[in-house]
Symmetry: C2
Subunit: 424 residues, 2 copies
């Protein structure tokens, strides 16, 4: 299993494109298309926000089909809180793409990111659709990764190759953030298990971000097994990151598998499934960390590991709570090894543990031992650990065998600047 330079068009048979539709006021690329040349099985996980954006609702409905061919995405407008008009507009986006691709709209999924509560400029999208389809290419993965960006400062893409049986399977992915990032996505459970045939700094004014991730693979795998892999992969990656603790209405993570790697189709949770899932976890983990690292205003990357929890949910809950501590994130920004804020956040998680057992480490330096602050803590050493670009924090609850890791970034004045600019 190895990481290669690449993205959504690295697996066989996937084409992508990105064009300017005029949705973003900045005039940057803002409409993207991902296409499989042969029918693919698809799975997806969506935000658990009670307000679901219209593209989320439409994609959920379309996922009931067994075969998919494409995903159409716009940035600059979330198409959320637009009621029935929004639902119609999201459906129209799939119709426009379907018309240009000569496909039924049900075989097309849709995603949006950008401002909430503004109606979609549908005519602009319709007008540019032939161009978007005409631009489709196996070399345009990066153009796709660019067109989905909002406040992202870097394009986020990656691919992994893994040997499954005698075949080389490739998994590619692209994602975007990087504000309103505190995802908790879930896959939809559908009955269908039928096997299948096999860009530069974005303008800040496009704010109101969300996380979107698009994964592609040439693996031959059933829809059900693909969904199970995605479930496992997002649980330890995207669902463990935070930029600001604000959960979006649009978070979506899609995967399409078109079978062109010609591996023996993965139909059950055997060795092949495990191998595929591990490779997928590598992709989603790397992409999730890229999101945290590029969080709005971020100057540092923070990794929080919780060990010794009585179960996995407890470990994840404590790690996630610490990852959303504004006070800790400010301390990291100021390179102040103010570990008391870690203690307060862990204790506020609602998880039951014995505070008199807890150890806290900054990097390899123990600051709290059995719930007691370490006397003569080397403050200079602690500060040096917080002066690094990557800050590592470990909390050992010493009350069980489970662990989890969460990722976030520091909280800088720049975050406030980005998010207090006029949207209107």
């Amino acid at each position: 299993m190895n990481i290669i330079k690449g993205g959504v068009t690295s697996p066989k048979g996937f084409l992508a494109s990105g064009v300017k539709a005029g949705i973003k006021r900045s005039g940057r690329v803002d409409l993207a298309l991902l296409y499989s040349e042969v029918p693919a099985v698809a799975a997806a996980a969506f935000t658990t926000n009670r307000f679901q954006a219209s593209p989320v609702k439409v994609s959920k409905a379309h996922l009931k089909a067994n075969e998919h061919h494409a995903i159409v995405v716009n940035s600059g407008n979330a198409n959320c809180a637009n009621g029935k008009i929004g639902d119609r507009d999201a459906l129209k986006m799939t119709e426009f793409a379907g018309k240009a691709l000569l496909l039924d709209k049900n075989k097309i999924l849709v995603a949006s990111t950008g401002i909430i509560g503004v109606y979609l400029p549908l005519l602009k999208i319709e007008k540019v659709m032939p161009e978007l389809v005409g631009e489709l290419s196996a070399t345009k993965g990066t153009g796709f990764a660019e067109a989905i960006m909002t406040t992202d400062t870097v394009k986020k893409e990656l691919a992994v190759k893994v040997k499954i049986g005698n075949a080389i399977v490739t998994i590619g992915g692209a994602c975007k953030g990087v504000g309103m990032i505190y995802p908790l996505m879930k896959t939809e459970k559908h009955p269908s298990t039928k096997a299948q045939g096999s860009p530069e700094q974005a303008k800040r004014a496009e704010g109101h971000a969300t996380m979107l991730c698009f994964l592609t693979t040439d693996a031959a795998i059933t829809k059900k097994m693909l969904s199970a892999s995605l479930d496992e992969a997002i649980g330890d990656s995207f669902n463990m990151i935070s930029v600001d603790g604000d959960m979006s209405t649009n978070d979506s993570c899609f995967i399409m598998a078109n079978g062109l790697a010609l591996n023996r189709e993965i139909r059950a949770k055997g060795n092949d499934w495990r191998k595929f899932t591990e490779a997928l976890k590598l992709v989603t983990g790397e992409l999730a960390r890229k999101l945290a690292r590029d969080g709005e205003g971020a100057t540092k990357f923070i990794e929080i590991t919780v060990t010794g929890a009585k179960d996995e949910v407890s470990a994840k809950t404590v790690a996630r709570k610490i990852s959303t501590s504004n006070l800790l994130k400010c301390a990291v920004c100021g390179e102040d090894p103010n570990w008391g804020r870690i203690v307060a956040a862990a204790g506020a998680s609602g998880v039951d543990f014995d505070p008199d057992k807890v150890d806290v480490y900054l990097g390899s330096l123990k600051a709290l031992s059995n719930g007691m602050s370490v006397k003569n803590l080397d403050k200079n050493k602690a500060r040096k650990l917080f002066m690094k670009k990557d800050v590592h924090i470990k909390v050992d609850l010493k009350s069980g065998l489970h662990k989890a890791t969460a990722w976030t970034c520091d909280f800088s004045k720049e975050y406030v600047a980005i998010n207090s600019e006029y949207s209107t």
Copy 2:
């Protein structure tokens, strides 16, 4: 019932003082004492953080007594995460005060606020205790309010007079914040129901705040009824504010009642209890709003009202979730009426409601109607509402009859500045 200028020494028989013990590096007043000349009943609510600061543990133990006389408080050091040494030090604080006041330590409660994980300079506290007791005076309520401050920019105190039966009862209070503020406090339930006889801007480097509130009253009331009143009062006040969503290890709200108003003792939840509780709610509500208004770095005050919830817990949960949205708080800072962030936060609360029924108002301006963004929203009017010092937001879930209000402040670059400065 009317608000008067005053504070903890406004009710009969209460004396207070504040002196410099040298705990704060800034050299400001940092040790405070509150004293009732006659025995008082006491009740208190404490943080639900799994990590409990040592003064919280000691006060909980001492509250089992039926009679109390004093509360000793330090700022500049939280005495938290200091293990058994911290517990001993908190107990020592009550011993020192008891020695100087000629009282058993069990009749003295204790609170601390400041940095976590640093041992208390106990000798400094012991040394200054005679001075602290010597300074006790019925005119030193403001000195007390000043000595408990950390990052507060203003002293927060208040008193209310209310007629109960033929007696005039006074309730006074002082509190401090204003970072690590997202309290969820609960009272301890004790069996005892026995009736009783009757500054200027603080230095930022003292950071690591918490919320502490000290309430006094000359009402005659049983310990059990006093605790019931406090429970009700904090549920709609302190437990509904947020500055940064970080729950402290030290949050404490104390009340002492000494009976000197000579009202007929309140022993049950009748009219007198209701009247007393309403007056107490006025005090805690005003103090809580003072905390939100003076939140670290705050330039604006935000009131979030949720109506139409199916139950009170749902209303409170949605209001509190919105109050912790970093994105909304940044938008208010930038005077950008970016109401989509309210929608996203409400939907992320975990509360079940029908998103297609929800209305959102900015002041009196409807922005979302039945889950749909209002076409032709007057953006200039919306912006003007966000340009006010006080910003009012209302979310009507239209799925029930319950409501709740939460308070917060905006999120400014100054918050980041305050909390990224060196503590060490």
